[in-house]
């Protein structure tokens, strides 16, 4: 039965298989210049379920009257795979659209969202874009929460005159004329986290992120900020999933030293294992402080870390904390989520907040179209491109699209910190530093939008 030959063959085949898997998982080493995609999840935030009782009928022009006209087809492409599931974004857009459709729609036209999920395969993403345009006949791309989409489809959207609205990850979400994001993405969020760390006067910054394509592009921001502050910075990458968190945590602490500041740019599960490993090893206090980019802004993480990390970890937050803030717009968001958002698995949090904003801004934009002109790719995208100064309680600044070669409309942020299982605001809205040359370039093009959102009012 178990003769020698099959066993040897099995061993050799499995060795080759294991080798192939390991080599495939092995990326480049540290700091290189920007390539394609980036790391970590776009956003991820907070909190508990809503008890909001706000009337949701305000989301449409005719309360209680369903829209019955021809639908306006909208498309989105989103990453959904084990370990990286951004479906809360499009699910929240669907919730908002359902609310609009139940209350008159857009001049009587219901909004229909076509969602294409991908597993970070470029060919699949390119095919999804063509499917949306050629088969589903969508007139706009709104609500892309994806690791790669901006990179893959930019030239296609440009050729069609489509201006996508997204909450992205890839550098092209911010650096191209046909994409504008409501979130900041990993680079500018890491900038914000490093900026907070620098304000605490550490002797050194250690910035670590997952070892995936695009890390050089992200790391360039924190490097520029540290250089401007004359603080040495070590930039590291770690292969994910992390298989030896204790070693990683030890290495970061040793590298930073007692007056150093460690900044993480990982998805919540990866950040959590590093922080927990530091705690289990008892080394969390061996550095001056810890920081993290937006993905750590989640109550899941605050709860899992426990009170030992209260006011020890400082996380960059791209949207208003839903626990801290309960203005009319936040109440509307929670009410729509409660009534129409049963598919939003994460509930209240920045994924669904960004979904809400992308849906709301889109509806505001198409509402400006004269119905006689029809809802075509041309008219709808002209309206999107014309978005200017859309204010929101959830962002520090008014949101804008505009005719720019790049778009970083969200460039002022908050800092939050764990506090007994919740993230609370530690620092109000602040501008991400223009020492990042990309931020400086955008502000030169579009100007510096004023901060209009007191964070804890």
């Amino acid at each position: 039965m178990f003769q020698h030959v099959p066993r040897v063959r099995l061993v050799l085949v499995l060795t080759a298989l294991a080798g192939a898997i390991v080599l495939a998982g092995c990326g480049s080493s540290k700091s290189s210049t920007g390539t394609t995609t980036s790391s970590s999840s776009s956003s991820g935030s907070s909190s508990s379920t809503s008890t909001a009782s706000t009337n949701t009928s305000s989301c449409g022009p005719k309360p209680g009257q369903p829209a019955t006209g021809t639908p306006i087809n909208v498309g989105t492409i989103d990453t959904k795979q084990p370990g990286t599931d951004f479906s809360d974004g499009p699910n929240m857009i669907n919730a908002y659209f359902a609310c609009v459709n139940a209350n008159g729609g857009v001049n009587g036209h219901p909004l229909k969202l076509y969602v294409e999920y991908d597993q970070t395969q470029p060919a699949q993403i390119a095919a999804a874009a063509k499917q949306l345009i050629q088969t589903d006949h969508v007139v706009a791309i709104d609500g892309v929460f994806d690791l790669l989409e901006c990179t893959i489809d930019q030239s296609y959207w440009k050729s069609l005159g489509i201006y996508e609205m997204d909450a992205g990850i890839a550098p092209e979400c911010w650096s191209t004329p046909n994409s504008s994001a409501v979130n900041m993405g990993p680079r500018y969020s890491s900038d914000g986290a490093v900026q907070y760390g620098l304000s605490q006067k550490p002797s050194k910054i250690v910035f670590v992120q997952s070892n995936v394509p695009g890390t050089g592009y992200i790391a360039a921001g924190p490097a520029a900020l540290a250089k401007a502050a004359s603080v040495p910075i070590t930039e590291l990458t770690e292969n994910v999933p992390i298989s030896d968190a204790s070693s990683v945590a030890l290495n970061l602490v040793d590298d930073a030293g007692s007056n150093g500041w460690v900044v993480l740019n990982f998805t919540p599960p990866e950040a959590l294992v590093i922080l927990q490993a530091a705690q289990k090893l008892g080394v969390e206090d061996r550095v001056k402080g810890w920081g993290c980019s937006t993905p750590c802004d989640t109550d899941f993480l605050a709860k899992a870390l426990g009170p030992k990390w209260n006011h020890k970890l400082f996380v960059n937050a791209e949207a208003t904390n839903a626990d801290d803030h309960n203005g009319p717009e936040m109440q509307e968001y929670k009410a729509i989520l409660a009534k129409y958002g049963s598919a939003v698995a994460g509930g209240v949090g920045s994924f669904s907040q960004f979904g809400f904003l992308l849906a709301k801004f889109f509806v505001q934009a198409v509402d400006t179209i004269n119905p006689k002109d029809g809802y075509t790719i041309k008219t709808v995208n002209a309206a999107i491109k014309g978005i200017k100064d859309y204010k929101s309680e959830m962002l520090c600044q008014p949101w804008v699209y505009g005719n720019y070669s790049m778009h970083i409309p969200n460039n002022a942020d908050f800092t939050v910190t764990p506090d007994n299982g919740k993230m609370i605001t530690a620092q109000g809205c602040f501008y991400v530093s223009s020492n990042d040359p990309q931020i400086a370039q955008y502000r030169k093009l579009a100007g510096q939008a004023p901060i209009t959102n007191p964070p804890t009012s």
Binding site: M1, S29, T267, G349
Partner: protein, 298 residues
Amino acid sequence: MPSLTDLEQFLVTGLTLGGIYALSGVGMVVLFQATGVLYLAFGAVGALGALVAWQLTTSSGFGFWPAFIVAILVGGVVTLAYGMVFGPALANRDPLVKATATLGLTLILLGVMDLLWPSSGGASRSITVPTDSNTFNIGDISVTYTNVIALGLGLAIAGLTSAFLRFTKLGTAMRAMANDRDITATLGVPVRRVTAAAWFGCGLLAGLAGVLLGDLVALDATTLTFLVISTLAATLIGRLRSIWITFWAAIVIGVVDAELTPINSVSNYRDATPFVLAAIALFVLNRRAGISVGRQGV
């Protein structure tokens, strides 16, 4: 280059992970010996057990230790069920086919875990073994009792399994089946019972390893599922036969992997450690076997 003290700290983490890889490797070797199946779903089964334990402790009011036992049993039951349903049908197939079939179980379990414990909305989970907070120092190095338990369990399970295979009737039957399943059956060995014991035992170890790795590495289905690679390398070095070579290989893999962390120039490549060590070991072993065969031929 890191100092000697720095490296000593990494030794503890390496020995800890090595201990868990070792107990996992022992489970895989025993199962292979008894059934001819290389159980690639080991990590996924462990992940399932760990997530069940998390669920019980967070929302069902279970204490850690009862949930820990349930997790181990979940591993045992799932593995036994797979073995009893698919084992007989695949018994006479090539070992490669049997191993590939367990990948099917891996994918199913990954799908189920993603459905039951989704990662959308930034969800992250953790499980903490109570012994994490009990520490003692060796010089400047802090050691938790979980570290000790992980290494101790690896060592104990390797020792006990070795003795079991050598001195018990069931163990002898398992070893006999490794040589020839059909002849063993004709000698009156209850093949079905022996294989069931092997499946169940391997599953129990998967559940045990899953909870420990969930605490020490990450409570994430994908991460835990693919940690089987390190164990797989150790079992390959042991040529799917030797429990003690598998044990030591697992320890070496854990330690080398950890010690490479602070060396920035190679740190990003340390995940290749299991494969590199397995390739070197197999190269040396095959060379020796070749020399041995050559001499016999002369």
